[in-house]
């Protein structure tokens, strides 16, 4: 009997198909009432469902009964869930999907921001652009110098942004501030960025109005995003006229390790090509680095980067105050840098980023009889939490702390006493900011940053705001505003005079239009400086008063156009910056335009792939209007201008294989036309017997700089 019951039960199960069906139908529309086509409408956890048709209508039947959840989802919209009772007749459903603004990203904040990314097509530059920009010599800062907002300062090689001094621009790797982004050098020998562009998959250059996440920079933030796991196991060899490097990258499933060693010596090159300076020890650098990556989960990543560099140089430099003969200048530098970050996403909506950096830097400088030792240790720690709240708000909030110890020993001459400078600073900061999407076309990013300097015993609160509005299918307008604070440089802090933060306020208005593969940007800005460092002598060492009494302004208009469409396999961009800036700072007697603040800067960058000869050619033309300098033989202050500065650089990369391994032969030359550029003049402190102040021009170390490099990558997978 019981067997029969079981059997009939089995039969019943197989005959389950005969059950009553419930019809579900309705329409799916977006917020504007337009039908959503292709939306997936289904019962949660079941096969039963349908897609919406051209009119946004759906219809399906189910054999299920009771309470069920109806799910409606489509790309770019927030998924809707609705309870339905299948035991009853269900009337036609009308469902409205709300656009998920974060997913759509129709409008982005572009005021002040230049993004370079290998991933995002919206980015204006990618890391390959950095390497292939002629005249940049594969230096990140050099390539950034072809973008609007920068003023070229050849003798420094650093970034000067919108009338700001170089110390007003800070560099960040994976969100963490880098204490020594440039290599150490002596006056008139330009520095380079310490980091190879190949380490990074993306960069964002902000010439103002940046996020509340970043502080301690009055003018600009350069954000570098390090690479994730490298693709393949490989060995890299590079041979250059100025040195060479060897690297080995090993890739496992979720882990990678790369080790590299580099040796640079300009001696062979500088012996061959006549130099204006009298070198005693041509620049030489030994360095090594380790890069470790580990994917801890599908969304988690642990990164470690460590590098050590040891460099030295020595030369005899002309000094206008020392007519007896040149002064022997020598510099030795040691630098250790660690950067470690961890990122993980929780429940798809919360991302935690945390990291730490350590920098140890040591400079031994000798100039004539004077000897200076400067050493610093810097620790940075930061934790950021990013959360998606609802469908239109992304919140970023975080804490940051910096510990910095700086020691300087200054020996004017062998008989004088050692003057010691000591700065121990701790800076803590907290910030919160939110991207709020107000409809499809408007996004606002209000933010607030609080900072405390224990050395200064001061707090600073910086409000920030950025807004972007899409005005047409291709164009958008953005606005950015913010307060920015920076602790004065160690050179001032070491006197232990009560000082305060330097401050800048930014106002930026931007229009950007993207049509096809062309981008047009026009940006205007006004920047107001307060509490700049001032002292009452031409040279800081002669000053008796050091205070925050300085101020200044910078305003300008910038233009950028990039076209990757018109020329087949070609790409060009034009960037132009106009700057009007004056400041009263340092030992200035009156407000004046500083030497780095040239009024007009123009860059034309053109790159072309020439397939028949497998060569990628790049050329960069740059123009900088005459740079201001102070001529004590004339009335007034900073009243003179140098001649206009021009540069035409060329580079070519020939792509080939060497014994089956991908090989690039790269040649580059700066200032091809050999134009005699003068960066400025240095005048004697005292007039000569004729009552005139003698002067010496500041000029590049050589008329041209040429480079030949051979890069080979030996890939294990493709033997």
């Amino acid at each position: 009997m019981k067997t029969a019951t079981l059997l009939s039960l089995l039969l019943l199960l197989s005959a389950f198909t005969g059950h009553a069906q419930t019809q579900l139908q309705g329409s799916v529309k977006d917020a504007a009432g337009q039908p959503v086509i292709g939306a997936n409408v289904f019962l949660k956890g079941l096969y039963d469902g349908a897609s919406t048709d051209e009119e946004g209508l759906f219809q399906f039947s189910t054999k299920e009964t009771g309470a069920q959840t109806l799910v409606v989802s489509f790309l770019g919209y927030t998924t809707v869930e609705k309870q339905v009772n299948l035991n009853q007749e269900i009337p036609a459903l009308s469902i409205t999907l709300k656009a998920d603004q974060r997913q759509l990203q129709a409008v982005v904040i572009s005021a002040g921001a230049f993004e370079a990314s290998d991933e995002k097509r919206s980015a204006l530059l990618n890391s390959r652009d950095i390497v292939t920009t002629a005249g940049a010599s594969a230096d990140i800062m050099g390539a950034i110098n072809t973008l609007p907002g920068t003023q070229k300062v050849g003798e420094e090689g650093k970034l000067f942004v919108r009338g700001g001094d170089s110390y007003e621009t800070k560099t960040f790797i994976d969100g963490l501030q880098v204490a020594t982004p440039y290599n150490s050098t002596v006056p008139d020998v330009p520095s380079r960025g310490r980091f190879s562009p190949f380490l990074f998959s993306g960069m964002a250059f902000s010439s103002g109005g940046y996020s509340a996440e970043f502080g301690q920079a009055l003018s600009s933030a350069l954000l570098l995003q390090s690479q994730d796991l490298p693709e393949e196991t490989q060995t890299g060899i590079s041979l250059m006229t100025i040195g060479g490097s060897l690297s080995r990258t090993k890739r496992w499933e979720n882990t990678s390790l790369a080790v590299s060693a580099e040796y640079m010596n300009l001696r062979p090159y500088m012996s061959l090509v006549r130099q204006r300076q009298d070198w005693k020890h041509m620049p030489e650098t030994k360095s090594g680095s380790v890069v470790f990556r580990h994917k801890t989960s599908p969304t988690g990543m642990l990164k470690f980067y460590g590098t050590y560099a040891n460099s030295q140089l020595a030369l005899n430099q002309q000094d206008v105050n020392h007519p007896e003969g040149p002064i022997a200048v020598a510099l030795r530098n040691q630098n250790v840098f660690f950067n470690s970050t961890y990122e993980e996403t929780y429940k798809e909506h919360w991302t935690l980023q945390t990291g730490m950096t350590f920098t140890h830097n040591q400079d031994h400088l000798a100039a004539g009889e004077t000897k200076v030792y400067a050493g610093s240790n810097t620790w940075n720690g930061k934790t950021v939490l990013i959360g998606d709240i609802g469908h239109a708000v992304t919140l970023r909030t975080g804490l940051e702390s910096q510990l910095r110890g700086y020691r300087q020993n200054y020996l004017e001459n062998p008989t004088s006493a050692v003057r010691k400078g000591v700065v121990d600073e701790q800076n803590v900061a907290a910030f919160a900011e939110a991207d709020v999407y107000l409809g499809d076309k408007l996004v606002a990013r209000p933010g607030l940053r609080w900072e405390r300097s224990y050395f200064l015993q001061k707090n600073a609160l910086s409000p920030r705001l950025a807004v972007a509005y899409q005005v047409s299918a291709e164009g958008q307008v953005s606005f950015a505003y913010g307060h920015f604070y920076q602790t004065p440089e160690n050179d001032y802090l070491k006197y232990h005079t009560p000082l305060s933060f330097e401050k800048a306020k930014h106002y930026i208005l931007n229009y950007q239009r993207t049509f096809g593969k062309r981008t047009l940007r026009v940006e205007g800005y006004y920047k107001n400086y307060q509490h700049l460092i001032r002292y009452n002598a031409t040279e800081l060492k002669d000053a008796t008063d050091l205070n925050n009494g300085g101020h200044g302004y910078a305003r300008g208009v910038e233009f950028f156009f990039r076209d990757q469409q018109t020329i087949k396999m070609g790409d060009y961009w034009i960037s132009y910056s106009y700057l009007d800036s004056k400041r009263l700072y340092k030992g200035y007697p009156v407000a004046a335009t500083p030497g780095f603040a040239s009024a007009h800067n123009l860059s034309l960058v053109y790159k072309q792939m020439i397939n028949p000869i497998k060569t990628y050619v790049g050329t960069t033309f740059s123009y900088t209007s005459g740079r201001p300098f102070h001529n004590p033989n004339l009335e007034g202050f900073q009243q003179s201008r140098t001649k206009n500065l021009f540069d035409l650089s060329l580079s070519a990369s020939y792509l080939t294989t060497l014994k089956g391994h991908a090989t690039i032969l790269h040649v580059a030359c700066n200032n091809l036309l050999g134009i005699d550029n003068v960066y400025g003049y240095r005048f004697a402190a005292n007039p000569g017997p004729d009552g005139q102040y003698a002067s010496l021009p500041v000029v590049p170390g050589a008329k041209r700089f040429a480079l030949v490099a051979l890069l080979v990558s030996i890939n294990d997978a493709k033997k």
Partner: protein, 210 residues
């Protein structure tokens, strides 16, 4: 006593019923995907496969096909952001499948295919990165199953689309595609639901290399 024998039978029957339902649903959805000629039809097929994948969280195949349909969909879409977002979705399904079946060669093939789909959205900017990622995934697929014809097909396609100056081109692709042809000829899927695509495309590409 007898009912003790029948009890397992009942469970088998229950299980078989569910299995049959799952297989029927998957077969139906795959047929729709094969027949898709435009983005709308492919979207519908992808939706249907998504429903099956969501309802069968323990089966790798529906997740595999949901990812596959979404990748195929991107080749029919025009908007580049939409294509990228669709691939993000495909990656979610693929990750789920990889969690269920980490040693399955076909899943690495699909990962390579997904990387290729990323690449074609912006070859100039993404070429270097994604062709490397694709070949790494595909090499892994050949290690897990040296007889997987799709791995060779996509490796050949990767080589074909790589510029000559980086060691690609028709000459480099030809021997790999010839190998794919060989492997396709020998390939017999263990069940009608297992991956069995790419042969005609591989042959067409091989013809282009001649």
């Amino acid at each position: 006593m007898k009912k003790l024998f029948l009890l397992p039978l009942l469970f088998i029957a229950l299980f078989a019923n569910a299995q049959a339902k799952y297989q029927a649903a998957l077969t139906d959805a795959l047929a729709k995907m094969e027949a898709s000629k435009n983005a709308e039809e492919m979207q519908n097929a992808a939706n249907q496969l998504t429903r099956i994948a969501n309802a069968e969280p323990k089966e790798w195949l529906p997740n595999y096909y949901a990812a596959y349909a979404h990748i195929n969909l991107t080749f029919l879409l025009k908007d580049e952001d939409q294509r990228d977002q669709t691939l993000d979705k495909a990656q979610v399904f693929l990750d789920r499948a990889l969690k269920l079946q980490p040693k399955e060669s076909e899943l690495y093939v699909l990962q390579g295919y997904l990387h290729q789909a990323r690449l074609v959205i912006s070859p100039m900017m993404r070429g270097m990165k994604y062709s490397g990622l694709a070949s790494a995934a595909l090499e892994k697929a050949t290690q897990l199953n040296p007889n997987n014809p799709r791995a060779y097909f996509l490796l050949g396609q990767n080589a074909f689309n790589t510029p000559k100056m980086f060691g690609g081109g028709a000459d480099a692709a030809k021997p790999i595609l010839a190998k794919a042809k060989e492997k396709y000829a020998a390939y017999k899927p263990a069940s009608s639901l297992l991956p069995n695509w790419g042969e005609s495309r591989a042959l067409a590409l091989l013809a282009k290399c001649q």
